[in-house]
């Protein structure tokens, strides 16, 4: 398993999320999923923190938070 070094991690605000699934469609790594059409979840084992999901989200529900 590869070791991911990441400066930022995506975090979702489910209150803002409109369940469109675009984050899942455009994540290059397949590390975000609209689970059961309801809940956006991330695979932090592999997420590279690129920010594509946050950029593509139409309702600004994802923010990129600096890793500790």
């Amino acid at each position: 398993m590869s070791q991911i070094v990441r400066s930022f991690r995506p975090v979702v605000d489910l209150g803002k999320c409109i369940k469109c699934g675009l984050c899942q469609t455009f994540c290059p790594e397949g590390t975000v999923m609209l689970k059961g059409g309801e809940e956006v979840v991330f695979d932090y084992r592999f997420c590279k923190g690129c920010g594509v999901c946050a950029n593509e989200c139409p309702s600004d529900a994802i923010s990129m938070v600096r890793e500790a």
Partner: protein
Amino acid sequence: MGLNSLFDEYYEKSFIQGGTTCCPGCGGPLLWRIILEILGSKTIIYGDGPCAMCAVRNIKLPNFNLHFSFIADTATGVVAALAAKGREDITVVSSGGDGATADISLGKVSAAAERNENMIQICVDNEAYMNTGIQKSGLTPYGAWTTTTPLGKEAPKKDVPMIIAQHNVPYVTTASVAYPKDLQAKIRKAKGTEGFKYIHVVIPCPTGWRFNPAKSVEVVRLGVQAWAWPLYEIEEGFLRLTLKPRQRPVEDYLKAQNRFRHLTDEQIQYIQGEVDRKRERLLEFDGKRIIL
């Protein structure tokens, strides 16, 4: 089900491992994720890159990573072996980066097209040799900075889809990872078509194009909206635009990437002129036969 196993199952189903060795925001793994969903399990993939060969490496289907100089030829052998074994149910995909497809292996792709080999040839175009460290290829656009064109590339991009189309193959198309539905429809069509299919896909390369990885999809979408990357297909010789977006100035696309940072206003104007001319021609030929 725990989150990890949920994702593991997802990777297994989508035939590509999460956490590739590509850069953050690379369009390579995104491309494969989008198209493997349509290609399905009965697929063999031979080829290189782009340097998203690092993506091919993570594919959970029979594959073979090759050097640039082996595009469409090893796949030809696979097609022949499958024919000898009566396994025509398997789709053979030959993938090549832009340098491979347009430069060192162009003759091979052309020959496979001439023989009408039963394969899907995908050109994964990130517009330079990225794996070797951002060197100019035949598909680097006019004006783009690379490490071998520090003042910007002097010559325009080769029009490989049009070159292949003139081989009179059953299917040629352009696509973009910013339009996954369009891309998937084209892969579906290619999969259902006998003979040589050529798919030319632009993928964003934040590292080589010099922009913030978060903007990856946005940048290639801008390219389509500016008509710098027109989406069309050529089926049995007939051209059809699959998307006719309202045209944005090409400057919006160029300014989004630092590889074009040095361009003068005149150069930008020149590029706009080229884009306009091509757009007009495409609109003129839309729905018409373009093969002589």
